[in-house]
């Protein structure tokens, strides 16, 4: 079942690449360069979904105090960071030829996305500093809820402030050609499926890590003569 879903997602990604690089019509102003947009913008959307999963995990842990929620949060943060990095790197690759600059610190969308990356890197570092699983889960959940406050800022920054970053062409009437829209939504669907698989795999890693920690405690207990 797991192998089947991985093959299915690989197929979706293959079709998305074909759609973005070959099938979609070439944009008049930016030409071939615009083809970065499909995966750049979709990565940004998927990043937000992954951080939402992490937020659910953080709130779930603070509410229920079950480690499974904390594992979901960790998985969401790590996968979200991957898509965050993709959007932060592919953006400047597109911006340099299009705007003539790699980066603009006065742009609210760019800066808030970078701040988001720093915050969640902080989340990962924080987890490594705390050994006790329960304490680690509490501290990182509180920090995770705080870090998530930047997510709406990232999403709405292009409406709230005047930015160099383009406005959403998807919702704007006449913004994107219908074939381009189809490719964009297909790419978003493919990356969302990939995100779900990566979160599931990362969650599994936490499950196995927990099993190892429990077995190590049990082995130590037995070596000490069963606590006698």
């Amino acid at each position: 079942m797991q192998a089947l879903s991985s093959i299915g997602v690989a197929g979706l990604i293959g079709f998305a690449i074909y759609g973005a690089l070959i099938w979609a019509p070439t944009e008049k102003t930016m030409g071939f360069l615009q083809r970065i947009f499909y995966f750049h913008a979709a990565s940004g959307e998927v990043m937000i979904l992954a951080f939402c999963a992490a937020f659910i995990g953080n709130v779930g842990y603070l509410w229920r105090r079950k480690l499974e929620w904390d594992w979901l949060a960790t998985a969401g943060v790590e996968v979200g960071l991957i898509f965050n990095t993709i959007s932060l790197v592919t953006g400047p690759i597109w911006a340099k030829p299009a705007w003539g600059i790699w980066w603009d610190w006065s742009d609210a969308r760019l800066t808030s996305t970078f701040v988001l990356w720093i915050l969640y890197i902080g989340y990962v570092v924080l987890r490594r500093l705390i050994e006790n699983p329960e304490r680690r889960a509490v501290v990182s959940s509180v920090f995770g809820v705080f870090a998530f406050l930047d997510v709406p800022l990232v999403y709405f920054s292009i409406w709230w402030w005047r930015t160099q970053h383009p406005p959403p062409l998807i919702t704007k009437p006449g913004g994107l050609a219908p074939d381009m829209l189809k490719v964009f939504f297909f790419t978003m669907g493919a990356l969302t499926a990939l995100m779900a698989i990566l979160i599931r795999q990362r969650y599994k890693l936490e499950v196995v890590r927990h099993t190892v920690a429990e077995m190590q405690i049990e082995a130590e207990y037995r070596n000490d003569g069963g606590g006698l």
Binding site: G31, T90, I93
Partner: protein, 49 residues
């Protein structure tokens, strides 16, 4: 504007980072599974003693 190189660079980065991440997570799971097996054997030996 053509900028074929920029598109290639962007796509190579996307698939590079995703493959490296997938590989590291798989390797970490595999190492932990080996550790589970090792601990099982240690505990089995402990029981026999």
């Amino acid at each position: 504007m053509n900028h074929f190189g920029s598109v290639v660079a962007a796509y190579m980065f996307i698939w590079g980072i995703l493959m490296v991440y997938q590989f590291t997570v798989s390797r970490r799971i595999s190492n932990l599974r080996q550790e589970v097996e090792r601990l099982k054997e240690t505990m089995e030996r402990g029981k026999r003693k």
